[in-house]
C-alpha cells in the first residue's frame, strides 16, 4: 500500500455547489495522522458537506481531496473502509435489527478476506474469518466499556452507550482516518467528559477529524481547529488562537460582538 498512513488527509480548494447555493468555497485543510482536527462553524456552514465530500457522497465541483498521498477521485462510500476511512454518523447510524456485537462486526469487514462464494458455502476460511471478526469486535466493545451489552439490540441501550457502540464500530476497522460527525450531540455533560477522554486516547493513532457544535469538547480535545462560515474557511490554527480570532467571534457570536 503506497503512501501509507503517514500522509495527512488534504483538501485543496474544494468547492461544492448545490444549485445556486455555495456549500463549500475553496476550502483547504489538512488533517495529519495522530492528531485531532476540529471543524467548527455555525449551522449550515458546510461541515457535514465537507464530510460528505471526503466520503464520496458528494462530488466537489472543483478542487481535490488527497488521501495517502493520492487524489481521491470517483471513490464510492463502500470503498471507504478499504481506504482506511471510518465515519460515525450524526445521530447513531446503528442497525436496529442487529445485535450490538453484529453492528460492530459489520464495521470490521475490512479485515475479512473470504469472498462471496466461500462465504456462501461457509468454507473453513470464511469460518476462520468470522471467528476473528467476532473476537476483534468484542475487543473493541470491551475497550469502550460496552462488552456486556454485546447480545442486546442497540435500541435497548441508553443513548450514551449506543454512541459508544457506534464509536466501537468506527474503530474496529483500525482506520487511518476517523471522521466523527457531531459525536457529542445528545450526550449529557458527564458523557461528554467521557467522550473527550476517549478522543484524547486516540491521539497518536489515526488522523481524527471532529465536526462538532460543542465548544468545550472541541477546545478540549483538538490539536488544531478549522472554522467554517458560509462554506469558507475563516480561521485555522490551535484552539486557543482560533478562540480569540475576531473573525470567529464575529461568525459565531456575531451579534454580541456587534453589540459590544
Amino acid at each position: 500500500m503506497s503512501g501509507g498512513p503517514s500522509q495527512p488527509l488534504e483538501l485543496r480548494e474544494v468547492t461544492v455547489r448545490f444549485g445556486g447555493l455555495v456549500a463549500l468555497e475553496k476550502v483547504s485543510l489538512s488533517a495529519p495522522p495522530g492528531r485531532v482536527t476540529g471543524v467548527i462553524g455555525p449551522n449550515g456552514a458546510g461541515k457535514t458537506t465537507l464530510f460528505n465530500v471526503v466520503c464520496g457522497f458528494v462530488r466537489p465541483r472543483s478542487g481535490e481531496v488527497r488521501w495517502r498521498g493520492r487524489p481521491l477521485v470517483r471513490h464510492r462510500p463502500h470503498r471507504l473502509t478499504r481506504l482506511g476511512i471510518a465515519r460515525t454518523l450524526q445521530g447513531l447510524g446503528l442497525f436496529p435489527g442487529l445485535t450490538v456485537l453484529e453492528n460492530v462486526m459489520v464495521g470490521a469487514d475490512r479485515h475479512a478476506r473470504a469472498g462471496l462464494v466461500s462465504g456462501l458455502l461457509a468454507l473453513p476460511r470464511a469460518d476462520r474469518d468470522d471467528a476473528a471478526l467476532r473476537e476483534r469486535a468484542m475487543a473493541r466493545l470491551d475497550e469502550l466499556g460496552v462488552a456486556g451489552e454485546a447480545a442486546r439490540r442497540p435500541g435497548e441501550l441508553p443513548y450514551g452507550a449506543q454512541k459508544r457502540v457506534a464509536l466501537a464500530r468506527a474503530l474496529v476497522a483500525d482506520p487511518d482516518l476517523l471522521l466523527l460527525d457531531e459525536p457529542a450531540a445528545g450526550l449529557s455533560a458527564a458523557e461528554i467528559e467521557e467522550l473527550a477522554a476517549l478522543i484524547r486516547g486516540l491521539r497518536g493513532g489515526p488522523a481524527v477529524v471532529l465536526v462538532e457544535h460543542h465548544m468545550d469538547l472541541v477546545m478540549g480535545v483538538c490539536d488544531q481547529v478549522v472554522v467554517l462560515d458560509f462554506g469558507r474557511v475563516i480561521a485555522a490554527g490551535p484552539p486557543a488562537e482560533v478562540r480569540d480570532d475576531p473573525a470567529v467571534l464575529d461568525a459565531y457570536l456575531g451579534e454580541e460582538v456587534r453589540d459590544a
Binding site: L80, T81, L94, P96, G107, L120, A122, R169
Partner: protein, 292 residues
C-alpha cells in the same frame, strides 16, 4: 382421530411448500421492500425447465439441480436488470415491474411449452406409509418434501445468522446507506438476496409439481397461498413465513377434509383475516416501539 392425524400430516406437507414460497417472498421483502408478484411466474418457469430435463430422459435429481440453478440465475437477473432501475422510486413502480415480469414469464412459457398441463414425476413413491395397519396420508415423497424444505430453511438460517456474508445481507437489508459506509457492497447483497429467494421458490415449484401439474397457470395458487402464509407470519420474519406456511397448510387441510374442498380458497382468506384481526402486523412481526 386417524382422520385428524392424516389431515394434519397432509397439511404439514402442503404447508412446507407454502412455507418455501412464503420464505421466497419474505427474503425479497426484507431486502428490497418489494412484494415479488413475479415469484409464481419465476417458479413456474424453473419448474418447466426441470420438466424439460425429465421429459428428455434426464434424472429427477438432475432436473431438480437445473431448477435450482436456473432459479438462482433468474432471481439475480430480475433484480439486477428489472428491479434495480425502479429501486428508490415509488413502491408502485416495483409492483408493476414484478407484475410485468410475471405476465412475460407466463406468456413465454405458453409459447415454448404450450398451455396444456404436463404431469411431473415425484422423487419417491406417493403411496402412503402404513402404521399399525392403518394407511397414513404421508408418503415417502411427502417426507422428502418436508425434509427438503427443512434442509433449505436450516441452510438459510446458518447463512444469515452464523456467517459474515449473512451479516452483510442483513445489514444491507436493514439500512443500506449505513451498510455502504461500513464497506458493504449493498447492490451485490440485494442481487444475492433475490437469487436466494428465487432458489427457494424454484424448490417449492418442483416439490409441488407432481400434485398441481406443470402448466403456465398451474402455480398461480401457490403465489396466493404463499403470500397469505407470509402475511400471516408477518412478512418481515423468515421464521414467521415458515410457521405461517405450516399453519395455513394445516388449516386448508382441515377445511377440505372436514368441510369441503371447494372451500379451500375461502379457508385461506378466513385464516388470513382471523390472524390479522388479532395481530394486525402478523404473528411474528417485530414489536414496533411507540415513540412518545
Amino acid at each position: 382421530m386417524v382422520r385428524f392425524v392424516n389431515l394434519t400430516l397432509a397439511g404439514i406437507t402442503q404447508g412446507a411448500v407454502f412455507a418455501a414460497v412464503a420464505l421466497a417472498l419474505v427474503l425479497i421483502w426484507r431486502a428490497t421492500r418489494v412484494v415479488n408478484f413475479a415469484q409464481g411466474g419465476m417458479l413456474m418457469f424453473t419448474t418447466f425447465l426441470a420438466w424439460t430435463v425429465v421429459h428428455d430422459g434426464g434424472s429427477y435429481w438432475l432436473a431438480l439441480g437445473v431448477a435450482l440453478a436456473s432459479g438462482l440465475v433468474i432471481g439475480a437477473v430480475a433484480e439486477r436488470v428489472l428491479v434495480r432501475p425502479v429501486e428508490g422510486g415509488p413502491p408502485l413502480n416495483a409492483v408493476i415491474v414484478t407484475l410485468g415480469l410475471y405476465v412475460l414469464l407466463q406468456a413465454a412459457a405458453g409459447m415454448i411449452w404450450g398451455d396444456t398441463p404436463h404431469s411431473y414425476p415425484p422423487a419417491f413413491t406417493i403411496k402412503g406409509l402404513t402404521a399399525g395397519g392403518t394407511r397414513l396420508l404421508l408418503s415417502p415423497f411427502d417426507l422428502f418434501v418436508i425434509g427438503a424444505v427443512a434442509l433449505v430453511m436450516a441452510a438459510l438460517t446458518v447463512l444469515f445468522v452464523r456467517t459474515g456474508l449473512g451479516l452483510k445481507l442483513r445489514a444491507a437489508a436493514f439500512a443500506p446507506e449505513i451498510a455502504r459506509l461500513q464497506g458493504v457492497r449493498v447492490g451485490r447483497m440485494l442481487t444475492l438476496g433475490w437469487a436466494l429467494a428465487a432458489l427457494v421458490g424454484s424448490l417449492a415449484g418442483v416439490l409441488i409439481a407432481p400434485s398441481v401439474f406443470v402448466g403456465p397457470s398451474q402455480f398461480d395458487a401457490m403465489l396466493v397461498f404463499g403470500f397469505t402464509a407470509a402475511v400471516i407470519g408477518g412478512l418481515d420474519s423468515p421464521a414467521g413465513a415458515v410457521v405461517g406456511g405450516l399453519l395455513l397448510g394445516c388449516a386448508l387441510s382441515y377445511v377440505s377434509g372436514y368441510i369441503s374442498s371447494d372451500l379451500v380458497t375461502f379457508g385461506a382468506l378466513a385464516a388470513l383475516i382471523a390472524v390479522l384481526m388479532v395481530r394486525p402486523n402478523g404473528l411474528f412481526a417485530a414489536r414496533t416501539g411507540r415513540r412518545v
